[in-house]
């Protein structure tokens, strides 16, 4: 029971009022950063590192960790209320979250998201305590070929996201792939679809694109009279989830935790992949999958649990191997190094107390996040009481500032506006947006891992067939792709009223 003892010692350290304060301030700052579109966790942490440099190591790392998972919750708030994802990992939540807002259930969505975040984060941290060592090296088994196969499984979920029309879903998916190809080819360095513009060499910013596609196009498609019931202000009672909500959310919490935690272990996966896969899983396995897209609670519960489980799970490779599994973690690792701490197995040997203090603070932080956010749900939702024309103006300002702050460049604002128009067109043509987000996120990962694999095998595709993990994953993808043909899914009666339109 060494682990438990050490953890208790960690709790004792983490419960000092200074450290609690740091965790609290971190959660608060993180939530605010998450709310601002554009400033995602990476930029947020990097910008705030100087603030923490003069604190003692424990305090500064506790605060940065709190900021880190605070952002994953904060991003949800604007996704749900304003249909403007605050950061990439919450993009998919906008689909059902905003539909819930439209029928006055914003409070329910936010509460469930907070609880889901708490559950996902806490279970992932328990995983970190119990099984960090073996799980950490498990992530290393995933080399480029396995990574590729995993991404193929993700892309195959496009089948699940397709609603009434597979063709429309494929159009949307292909468009996403096309957009994700803009910029310098990651391997050969050749510019693609850049039309000679320097600015496009780096591709278009994912956040700018999704803010445009989801948020701006929503505002552009507003016509007075036509949809004046855009938002209903929830009463106090409507803030709280009903028993049915809880019951329906529970399986989604479980699936989200599993997916997020597993993805978090894999170096190179981002939180947005977790939330997308979780949404796909709900689409495929939830009892209420035919309601997804029309404001089903599962569409919020799953992804939001997954991205927090991912955020905490991703700390495992950092703590056990010293590997930053995602860009955000890389920034966090930079903060460790600046404090003279080297993450990795030596951290536990050389700074044992500190390591356990940080882990204990992760538990505390997750509780704080819940305590902080559930009471605030009422406050956040009251934003919706603002008359729509004013609210729309504020949202627009928010989106422009958000797009600008991605790289402090006006270029991203134009990207957002252009994709707002694209989104408007897609809505008119009845093309679903979810498949596009899926391929937009997964496309570059797929390309990268495919080419890395082929580099390793010197160009031979056999590398995908003589590795057991890769084989199994590819077979799973095949089964998912074929499932509609096998009519394993919805009976014909349901297909007719499928909501994805």
């Amino acid at each position: 029971m060494d682990v438990l003892n050490e953890l208790m010692m960690g709790f004792a350290e983490a419960m000092t009022w200074q450290n609690l304060l740091f965790a609290f301030v971190g959660c608060l700052l993180g939530t605010v950063i998450g709310v601002l579109p554009g400033i995602g966790p990476v930029a947020g942490i990097a910008l705030l590192i100087p603030l923490t440099l003069n604190l003692d190591p424990a305090g500064s790392i506790i605060m940065l960790c709190a900021i880190f998972y605070g952002t994953t919750y904060g991003g949800t708030i604007t996704s749900v209320l304003l249909n403007t994802p605050g950061e990439a990992a919450s993009a998919i939540t906008a689909i059902d979250g905003y539909q819930m807002t439209k029928v006055g259930r914003a409070g329910v969505a936010l509460t469930i998201a907070a609880v889901g975040s708490f559950i996902g984060g806490t279970i992932a941290t328990v995983g970190l305590v119990l099984a960090a060592k073996p799980l950490g090296s498990l992530g290393l088994l995933i080399g480029p070929p396995e990574f590729f196969a995993l991404v193929v499984v993700g892309i195959s979920l496009l089948v699940a996201l397709a609603g009434r029309s597979m063709v429309r879903a494929l159009i949307s998916g292909a468009l996403g792939l096309l957009i994700s190809m803009i910029g310098i080819d990651p391997v050969m360095g050749a510019p693609r679809f850049t039309f000679g513009m320097d600015r496009l060499l780096d591709g278009v910013s994912f956040v700018a694109v999704i803010v445009g596609i989801f948020g701006l196009s929503e505002i552009l498609s507003y016509r007075p009279g036509k949809n004046q019931t855009v938002t209903q202000t929830p009463g106090l009672r409507a803030l709280l989830p009903t028993r049915t909500d809880w019951k329906r959310s529970t399986p989604a919490f479980a699936r989200g935790t599993g997916i997020g935690f597993a993805m978090g272990l894999i170096p190179g996966m981002t939180g947005s992949v977790s939330s997308l896969l979780s949404y796909g899983a709900e689409k495929k396995f939830s009892k209420y999958r035919n309601e997804l897209g029309r404001g089903a609670i599962e569409g919020v519960a799953g992804p939001e649990t997954a991205n927090n489980a991912h955020a905490n799970g991703a700390l495992i490779p950092l703590f056990t191997l010293g590997i930053p599994a995602s860009p955000t973690i890389a920034v966090l690792m930079g903060a460790f190094l600046q404090q003279g701490l080297t993450p990795g197995p030596t951290l536990f040997a050389e700074h044992s107390t500190l390591a356990w203090t940080i882990i204990a603070s992760l538990f505390i932080g997750n509780v704080l996040l819940l305590v902080l956010n559930v009471p605030l749900v009422g406050l956040w939702t009251s934003i919706l009481k603002v008359p729509y024309p004013i609210l729309a103006g504020l949202i627009l300002m928010f989106m422009v500032v958000g797009a600008y702050t991605i790289n402090f460049s006006v270029f991203d604002v134009f990207v957002m506006i252009i994709f707002g128009l694209v989104g408007l067109g897609l809505r008119r043509l009845d093309i679903p947006l979810a498949p596009m987000v899926l391929t937009l996120v997964l496309g570059p990962l797929m390309e990268r891992s495919l080419r890395e694999s082929l580099d390793i095998s010197h160009g031979s595709f056999s590398i995908f067939f003589d590795r057991p993990i890769t084989m199994v994953l590819l077979l799973i993808a095949l089964v998912i792709v074929c499932s509609p043909l096998l009519k394993l899914r919805k009976p014909a009666a349901l297909v007719a009223e499928d909501p994805e339109s």
């Binding site: 990097a46 360095g189 590997i323 600046q338 790289n407």
Partner: protein, 331 residues
């Protein structure tokens, strides 16, 4: 509720203002009075927050502010391996209010490679100071059968193209290093490009998906300390302070020198007074004791050079890389 929105709006505007304020430079006769009271200097970082270039810039920033007596704002303009930031640095007004953190080889290679269509030339930038030299090293798995550099390179000669080595992307520093090794030794290491960067490369190496890790000392040192990698050789003329037991390539009889150097530059054509002031301030900041010791913690050995020497260093690198350029260009 109104207050929240006001607060959010104010916050957002402040952010926007912070982003804009530095670009408002408009005076033309910056000279003796540089830096003007209240006018801040923008320190452009062409890489994402958290990377080695950014970290170094943020470490010197407070000292630089003290030396110059004005605000110094670190602004990240990442993308396209530095090209986007470098382009805007080269196009900025040469008045001293915009300077940039730069890394090489990227700064010399980007304008050299026609396929990238860079809108600036190396001559459009004027070097100010070098801060760090981070030599390349080559490492294998801790339990590898290769005991020394010769073993590895001889085996690679015997089985050309079958031993994989990591890079952080086509035409990145590691790719050039591999090309230099292959050219100088007759070995044939086969590059695997991890375009996401060093952490992806070392992850694949740790998972034993790639045999050989090529990277900067600062990135490999921890793996060596944890006993997860065995560094076989340093691509430098002298042994590295942090790896005293590892021989250099030249000790083993191979003429390979490759390193990533990081420093500071400005758009070409600074008034002489301004350049002098900036150079002096940068020297003070780079050699500041607490900065040096923080850099040491990161495995980065401070190696200051003034503008003239740094300029020569660039020219030398340019010549070295021109030689191997055809070897790393996409076929």
């Amino acid at each position: 509720m109104k207050r929240i929105i006001t607060a959010v709006a104010v916050g957002a505007l402040t952010l926007a203002a912070a982003g804009c304020s530095a670009s408002g430079a408009s005076t033309s006769n910056a000279g003796a009075d540089f830096p003007k009271n209240g006018k801040s200097v923008e320190l452009l970082v062409s890489f994402s927050p958290g990377g080695p270039v950014d970290t170094a810039a943020r470490l010197i920033q407070p000292v630089l502010e003290k030396e110059l007596g004005t605000n110094v704002e670190v602004v990240n303009k990442p993308g396209a391996g530095g090209q986007i930031g470098y382009t805007s640095l080269a196009n900025a007004k040469p008045d001293g209010y915009t300077i940039g953190a730069v890394g090489s080889p990227s700064i010399v290679v980007i304008p050299m490679d026609e396929a990238r269509g860079a809108a600036f030339k190396r001559e459009d930038l004027q070097p100010l100071a070098r801060q760090v030299v981070d030599p390349m090293v080559i490492a294998v798995q801790a339990d590898s059968k290769y005991k020394n550099l010769k073993d590895l390179l001889e085996d690679s000669k015997a089985k050309p193209g079958s031993i994989n080595a990591t890079t952080t992307g086509q035409m990145g520093g590691e790719h050039f290093a591999i090309a230099q090794i292959n050219e100088a030794t007759g070995a044939e290491l086969s590059p695997v490009h991890f375009s996401e960067g060093a952490s992806q490369a070392s992850t694949a190496f740790l998972g034993k998906h790639v045999d050989v890790l090529v990277g900067n000392i600062s990135e490999v040192i921890d793996l060596q300390k944890q006993g997860k990698a065995k560094v076989l050789g340093v691509m430098d003329k002298e042994r590295a302070e942090v790896l005293p037991d590892v021989p250099t390539f030249s000790e083993e009889g191979y003429d390979v020198v490759a390193a990533t150097a990081r420093g500071y530059a400005a758009p070409a054509g600074l008034p002489e007074d301004v350049a002098k002031k900036l150079e002096a301030a940068l020297q003070a900041a780079i050699e500041d004791e607490s900065v040096v010791s923080k850099m040491d913690n990161l495995g980065l050995t401070t190696s200051y050079q003034d503008s003239a020497e740094y300029g020569k260093f660039w020219t030398k690198q340019e010549a070295d890389y021109k030689k191997v350029l055809p070897l790393v260009q996409a076929k």
